[in-house]
Each structure stands twice: as C-alpha cells, then as structure tokens.
C-alpha cells in the first residue's frame, strides 16, 4: 500500500518514514521564518505532532510536502505571535549567515527592530519574499492565501518597514 495511504490510516511506520523523509525540509522552512535554531527545532517537533494529529484529515492524493509546509508556517506564525515582544530576530543560525560587514551595527539593529515590529503575518512574507526570495506561489501556498494577497502583504510590509527605518534614521 502507498506510504501516504498508510499514513492516513494511522500507520506509525508510515508516519516515521514521512518524518525521516521531510523533517529537514520542514526545519529549514521554519528556520527561515523564525531564524532561531532552538525554536525551529521545537517548532519542527510541534509541526510533526500536528501532522500526526491530523493524519485522518489528509487525503492521500494531496501533496504532502506542501501540506506539511502549511502546518509548519502556521506553527511558526503562532510562535512569532507568542514571542513578538521578546528578543528581536535572532540570527545565530550558522557562521555562514553572518551579516554583511558594509552594514553598520546601528543600521542592522534598526532593520532587525523594524522587521521584529511587523505583525507576524507581514513578517513572514517579508522574510520569505525579500530575504529568502521564495516564489510568491510557494509563499501563498504555505499561508493558504492567493498570490495577490501575498503581494498586498508585501506592499503593506514595505510601507511599514520604510516608515520604521526612516524613524530610525536609516535611508530606505
């Protein structure tokens, strides 16, 4: 029997197999949104728990990675809502993601604060569309909205970011 069919019927081995196959992709997707390795790990666990809980609602002919990405995005947005007023945008994922040295510490801090101040729904599209350059179609799919709605969110995020950066004295 197909793996996805067995998963929908609650087969634990099928779930374990899907976890092994997709957990790295789910982790990477979440890390791009929350930019905190510890939180991304916890949210990957949360995502696979939600996936397990909803196995009966999943139709075997659907696209599993896209479904998992949508659940992961919701979990990440929930996390951003919970931690919105805490530490702004950690970027300690790896040495390879060191910020560009041409940007001053003050500018970097202002940009981090401006992004952290965005509402979670706008913060997600900013990070995925501007920083990670994910296609709008994929962002729309992961948020369960249309591509036009993503464009509207990007437009609103840009307006808010410009305002915040200008207030902080950063020319944007």
């Amino acid at each position: 029997m197909e793996l996805l069919q067995r998963f929908t019927e609650g087969d634990p081995e099928a779930f374990a197999s899907l976890f092994q196959q997709y957990h790295r992709d789910v982790y990477r997707w979440i890390a791009r949104i929350v930019r905190d390795p510890a939180a991304a790990e916890d949210l990957t666990v949360e995502t696979f728990w939600r996936i397990h809980r909803s196995h009966a609602r999943f139709a075997a002919q659907r696209n599993f990675p896209a479904w998992a990405r949508r659940i992961a995005t919701n979990a990440a947005i929930d996390h951003l809502r919970r931690t919105r007023h805490e530490v702004p945008l950690p970027d300690n994922l790896s040495a390879s993601t060191r910020p560009d040295s041409i940007v001053t510490t003050e500018t970097r801090r202002a940009i981090h604060s401006a992004i952290a101040a965005l509402p979670p729904r706008l913060r997600v599209v900013t990070l995925l569309a501007f920083i990670e350059e994910e296609p709008y179609s994929q962002i729309a799919d992961s948020l369960g909205i249309s591509e036009n709605a993503v464009k509207v969110r990007v437009f609103r995020a840009v307006r808010l970011l410009r305002k915040k950066l200008q207030q902080a004295g950063v020319h944007a």
């Binding site: 990477r28 790990e41 696979f48 790896s94 940009i111 501007f130 920083i131 350059e133």
Partner: protein, 76 residues
C-alpha cells in the same frame, strides 16, 4: 509599478539582505524523532463538553443577572 518604485524596492531588498543574509543549508542540531514520539505519547488535556456547557451557562447567568456576582462572591 513604475521603474523608480521597482528600483527603490530592489534597494530596500538589498539593504535587508545585507543586514539579514538568506539562510544557507541548515539542519537540526539534534535528533528530533525522540521529541516527536514523546509529544505524541503525551495525552492532551481533554475538557469534557459538559464542563464547557456549565461554564457557558454560568457566564450567561452572570451576564443576564449581574447582581448575582457580589452575592456569589460573598458566599465563597
């Protein structure tokens, strides 16, 4: 979108990317499978529907007869 707006948008994007570089390939630092298994094994706290019904009835009573609140507090 005009050419000028497009250019401004690209400049803003570059500024953001200079401050927050895109993530390169990253993987979890620990094995997450045991944590997933533990999470699944932990039972959800299930509140029976009649508890919710009782709570809703109490809320409705307090809303309709707010005079009951001080009386109830006095007897608690």
């Amino acid at each position: 979108m005009s050419l000028n707006e497009e250019k401004n948008l690209r400049e803003l994007q570059q500024l953001l990317k200079n401050a927050i570089p895109p993530l390169e390939d990253t993987t979890p630092r620990r094995d997450l499978w045991p944590a997933v298994q533990n999470r699944i094994a932990t039972p959800l706290i299930h509140v029976p529907w009649w508890d919710w019904a009782l709570l809703a009835a109490a809320a409705l009573m307090f809303f309709l007869f707010p005079g009951m609140i001080p009386t109830l507090l006095y007897h608690l």
